[in-house]
Symmetry: D2
Subunit: 357 residues, 4 copies
């Protein structure tokens, strides 16, 4: 469904070529002063056309708040505890670009599955399955982040890997303040440069490429996460895997830890190592929470492909339109947004029943 | 919280050394004929003491159904559409083994986080954080499986990797009927033998080892999964990551797909490849759904470790008691159970609103 | 919270004097052809300024659909199975009318409780607690009604009582086609005329008056409602009691049945009486479902009243502004909307798990 | 479904003639010291056979806690924050009494609707629709009550009316400490005596009689209840209407307030009257919350009635077995239990997001 969260809950709406994308945030605490520019700044990080590495679709992606706040200054509002609705109008939708797709299923897109599930589909720009839906996540995440910051909780994500080009260093050895200094959002400038070259080369081939976004949450208090099915990392996994093109998630030592022995992996108390990745028994232990999200290459490649139409007839399909050769740079703020929402929700839920003395 | 699912919902209860483990299954369709022995057989696959590779704790793990069914034969019942409650009594709990742990936090267990979150904890055998909690999952999964089978949906999981010993072949090249033929639950007998040797060697060292369980769901109809936050793989991820000791999840080409190009990864229609792993846009596409779950080495190692007590004082701790050197063999039926519950829930949810003609 | 329903779910937003009122409908089946004019017609029935009996606030209350549909004709769209977002812009808000209320709690309004709960409040027109919030219910109800009509399910509500003036006849003896023929929405023209006189007289006194809305749902299939906590009438009760100013709910013989004996109240099978009100054991039995909702007099009376300000100081307060002397006429479409949403949700939920043969 | 609550959540199970009735309470705060005898005492108030006014079915209704607590003394335990599972074994079920009902639908029972909804039913003693299900509510309510009492929140219910015999006085003029002093649970001994006479007379006729339970919640803090769909009274209404045989709910001046004017009904601040019934805008205002629940006469009357069998054939049916002539006395502790759960859940939910300074 289109709602995520238990207390801090985002319900999202919108299609790529409909009038607007937006959502309703329910459960945001009252009395939080929100910097509108900071919300807009997160949308700029997600926005198409932000660099030479992204699609040229041109959208201002200006957010409008419709409820749930009272004005404080021209740039800030205060939350009232009621639902915060917001919309971002779609502007540059060239729906005619998609006329040819009305009856064709693009390979490895959601066209075939949506059409079969619902009996019809909005074919324009992928409709609901478009990555434009993530606008609503970025807005809700930017607001969550502003709720978390006064508590000292910070969230950072970056492009860890593109194709075979990886930033091998452990996150503690990376300069996370450097993330925004290059178009690919990799904290290591040298690796970033090689990633960019790879992306440009892939694009020149009319192809696309996958990669990995890494993230770290610092300052998280002990006690977040609800056993047993809502373990903090289970919630993080669900949040991250709900992002378009996500194919995998791990945290702490993750898949790499499978080859290790308990004697190598255990974290002594007081903590001097953090192989656990900041979560034990599904509950945050006060150490940094670090995780990875794997993204597949976007399926829109500028090459002829075999597919079928809605009558089941074989057709050849060659995409046109504007697309990203690699989603990683724009996925970074989305990963951060999902992490912020997940942590805030866990924090509010944990407040519901404090331990009795 | 302790409930998973939207329509087919398991609410789980129980501590390792309390009177019983069990749960309530709400939302099971009426009129399903259940084979009681088949439920019990799944519990046997999860049971401690089942082989030389597992803990020697001796539990019969006999399930008792308390509601939601009417008897048909001595071995079978029919569901009535009302909640199915079940319990498994704990028998062989040597709580005295844990007296030394009353005030000590075992490293990389949930002791410290539970104690901080709740202000107290049941220290006996890990209490609620014990893997005995998974009994309730296995029962609910075994019932889900019996609901799915008449629809032709089958679920298989196996030990794909233990430490560095991996079963490299693609699942389509494995003989999945061989899984139960060895104690480690690996379909390749030769690899299984080497895994067993590794586990025995690790145990001899007083150590533990991690690994990967792989799974595949076949016969799944097109259309399961609910955009956007409840994508089928997001639900699977949350379900798998809620299992004790799980550290990572991926599906389809997963993390390995990050290094690939779109031209290598797209699946043409009609499907001749399945890089997507049976899900596109969060909705099943009728192809097999395959996935991996990473498990860390269990933290109970028979070696002295540094930790603290509840007063924050440094203490050295050397575990005793009965533990698994490797959770993988017993994790296999749990992974299958979580998959069965997730698929059945998605299937029932999908039935709620069929496409209008 | 601001979401209602399990499958067909409305999440509502908006304040009386904010930019807009609206909502997101999640879970609407795909392929439903919606008549836009029929939605707008329901809003007209709720609209202020529709008759001499209502507030003179002038709002066009024009609904804009933002997602979840594809155009069919100029007047109709088809649902796509994705969330249907909609907004109604607020136009005629004279916020300055409310400046005097910034620091004052109006008696028997939500001012004091919102302020205490949230630490601040939007004082303009009651903010979130304003009956303008019900716009979102009317839109979602109008869409639900269009989903239900092809199945032969019809919902009618009317003003049963205003003050002491009651329409005593059993609903089966009323001409429900006459409801919209008078401003008070009472099917008996003679009673309606007396109700109008009472309302006009009460208004002349600067006072307000309460009453009862009755409703009936016909054509409902057998089997809707989920034991035990989501009995169909428990859901209806929650839905109705969530309407502003609602103070009571009963169904079937309701409160009047308390004085009766079982021998008078039992309905024989096949049904020749319907004392049960169409629901038995929380599940619809195929007979008409009839119910009542009690509404208090609106608290805004044009007379001086004792109250306190946010510093706790006693002040005298005399309301100005535009208000209804009686909410009943405008409550009728809201009651119908809540009934439509509740029944559709129960119907979709019931489809999730059909009985096995 | 069979779960109620958002934070403090009861999932209930069990049939009248199955092995046991019980439930799982999730979300109970940790560190609450529970008096086991106080829980059992509430079950005694609900127990059949407790007086000459009730069914003679003989059940000890001894509760067994299976999880979620640690022992403190022989009579008390402390909650650990994990799910509290409990069961009550069914003992005195004379299922043979019900053999005649296997194929017959009892009038105004849930037999016909369950059978149609699920395609089969447990005919023994009403199966899931039996009032024995309320055992789980009484246990969960008794625990909720022990969580609320340290905060000064008290809940009292009583029999307000049986047939035409009513206790007309306002609750503030009743001696609520007298409720348990008579079998009918009416605080006015004289009215109670007349109620008992009526019940005995009705029973002698082989008939049954309905009535009204009133309740009051005192000491409730300001701020409980969540706008807009989870208004505190909407939650109370849903909770009460989910009780077997409930047909109506109102609070504050309720249905009686419909005939009043705003000038009579408004409560000035600081509060000197309480026509609102302790809730304004769906949020508790610190004043006592009072409400009424209407119960129909139980449908089992010892007289021949017309009905049909599962083949649709007309049959005459005359009930045997043991039944209550009036549910009111035993409904009192159930109403209290539902109120306690509702208030505790609202209180915990309200703690999740305290207003920011």
């Amino acid at each position: 469904m289109n709602t995520i969260g238990t207390i801090y809950r985002l319900t999202s709406f919108g299609e790529s070529h409909g009038p607007a994308i937006g959502g309703i945030i329910d459960g945001c605490p009252a009395g939080i002063k929100l910097d509108i520019n900071a919300i807009q700044a997160e949308l700029q990080r997600r926005r198409p056309g932000q660099s030479h590495l992204t699609t040229s679709r041109n959208e201002a992606d200006q957010v409008e708040l419709l409820s749930g706040t009272m004005p404080v200054t021209t740039d800030s509002v205060v939350t009232t505890g009621t639902p915060i609705a917001f919309i971002v109008r779609n502007a540059d939708h060239r729906s005619a670009d998609y006329d040819a797709l009305r009856d064709i299923f693009r390979p490895s897109h959601a066209d075939f599955t949506y059409w079969t599930k619902y009996g019809l589909r909005d074919h324009r720009g992928g409709g609901r399955s478009s990555a434009r839906e993530t606008i609503s996540r970025v807005v809700a995440g930017a607001i969550a982040r502003q709720c978390l910051r006064p508590q000292g909780i910070d969230i950072r994500a970056w492009t860890q890997q593109v194709g075979d080009i990886a930033c091998d260093a452990d996150w503690t050895h990376l300069n996370l303040d450097n993330i925004e200094n290059n178009a690919v959002r990799c904290p290591d400038d040298d690796v970033a440069r090689r990633m960019e070259e790879l992306i440009m080369s892939v694009r020149a081939d009319g192809d696309t490429i996958g990669g990995i976004v890494s993230g770290v949450i610092t300052g998280c208090p002990i006690g977040l996460g609800e056993p047993v099915f809502d373990k903090l990392h289970a919630r993080l996994a669900a949040a991250m895997m709900s992002i378009n093109a996500a194919k995998g998630f791990d945290y702490g030592m993750g898949f790499a830890g499978c080859t290790r022995r308990g004697s190598e992996m255990n974290d002594p108390l007081p903590f001097t190592t953090n192989h656990s990745g900041g979560i034990q028994g599904g509950i945050s232990n006060g150490q940094p929470i670090y995780f990875r999200v794997a993204f597949k290459p976007v399926p829109t490649i500028l090459r002829p492909q075999q597919t079928i139409d809605i009558e089941g007839r074989a057709v050849e399909y060659t995409p046109h339109g504007r697309h990203d050769p690699c989603v990683l740079p724009r996925a970074v703020p989305i990963v951060e947004a999902m992490a912020a929402m997940t942590i805030l929700d866990a924090l509010l839920l944990n407040q519901a029943r404090p331990p009795q003395p």
